[in-house]
């Protein structure tokens, strides 16, 4: 089974994102630095969730890593390597 059969939609990690953000993030729009596509968080590809320690969100068009959120014992580490901007 390849990774694409395991992926979910960004929508599925809406609860985890709410551990960090105070507002729903799944309807938030953002721009991918890889291909320029503007889309909603909920419609991007989600990997590593819920079975891994965090969530990796990739662009549904070009698979650029948009957002990484990892929960460690003490804190969260949030990376936004592939988002030019987000509108929340």
């Amino acid at each position: 089974m390849d990774e694409t059969q395991l992926r979910l939609d960004g929508n599925a990690c809406g609860g985890m994102l709410r551990e960090v953000f105070t507002t729903d993030m799944t309807a938030a729009r953002g721009a991918c630095v890889g291909c320029g596509t503007v889309g909603q968080v909920g419609g991007q590809h989600l990997y590593g969730y819920p079975h891994g320690p965090g969530a990796v969100l990739r662009c549904s068009v070009c698979e650029t890593v948009l957002l990484v959120l990892v929960h460690t014992r003490e804190s969260y580490r949030l990376g936004l390597p592939g988002l030019a901007w987000m509108q929340i």
Binding site: Q5, G15, E19, D24, Q40, G42, P50
Partner: protein, 251 residues
């Protein structure tokens, strides 16, 4: 609108199981009483967290199947996954009166509201029917007549979740059409679709792109990806094809 409202941090709540409904083999609905439930929109989900005696925790997301208008409780419909960590407990172990940790409602992306007037296409694979059922129940509760087509793929007739209710909703004649496809086992008298969802089936069932339909597709990841790709190939606007992948096996 929920998005405009000031929202506080999402907290875990202790919900109480008030009713259990056997929906199909290996599929059970849990109706939950959730203290201070803020209400939800059709298509949203909740996270459920189970904690074992040694402190190990497992979280899973489950779509809400009940309509926002239903004050009887929040319904989750769960399919048993043989290798699952959470679903065996929810399907086989939970009893009325038990408590579960839950947070939600979650999600503003895979949401349909009765005010949306465009033709609606709902495509479900197996237990992917759950959030779509919330949309159909919401539609009925609001007496909406939005032209709606449901295409529901199931292994067998017995595996069709909410079968009697779907029959009833479809018979109301308010603009809902239901198409079942049975992929593995069929009654001898079956005259409906008898294969996996394919291009020809979607040509027959999906609204023409000129009508600016909105589509919600939910089910196992390979099912959702195949259907979404076909809809876009048939000319549907990708931004109006909303997907909810359940993972490799669904549920």
């Amino acid at each position: 609108m929920a998005r405009a409202a000031v929202q506080r941090r999402l907290t875990w709540r202790l919900a109480k199981v008030v009713e259990l409904v056997d929906e199909a083999p290996k599929v059970r609905s849990l109706v939950l009483a959730v203290p201070d439930w803020p209400g939800h929109q059709a298509g949203q989900h909740v996270d459920v967290r189970l904690t074992s005696e040694d402190g190990y925790q497992a979280e899973r997301s489950y779509s809400i199947a009940s309509a926002p208008e239903d004050r009887g409780g929040v319904m989750l419909t769960v399919e048993l996954l043989d290798d699952g960590e959470v679903s065996p407990y929810l399907v086989d172990e939970v009893r009325v009166g038990d408590q579960l940790e839950l947070r939600g409602p979650i999600g503003g992306y895979f949401v349909w509201e009765a005010e949306m007037a465009d033709p609606l296409l709902l495509v479900a694979g197996g237990s992917g029917i759950c959030p779509l059922m919330a949309m159909l129940r919401h539609r009925a509760a609001r007496s909406s007549t939005v032209p709606t087509r449901l295409l529901y793929s199931s292994r067998s007739f017995e595996d069709v979740i909410y079968r009697a209710e779907l029959d009833r909703l479809t018979a109301a004649g308010d603009g809902l059409q239901t198409f079942l496809t049975l992929t593995r086992v069929r009654p001898t008298t079956w005259t409906g679709f008898d294969r996996r969802v394919d291009r020809e089936m979607l040509v027959q069932v999906a609204w023409s792109p000129e009508r600016r339909p909105v589509a919600f597709v939910c089910g196992p990841t390979p099912f959702v990806e195949a259907v979404a790709r076909l809809l876009v190939e048939l000319g549907q606007d990708p931004a109006r094809v909303k997907t909810e992948r359940f993972g490799p096996t669904g549920g």
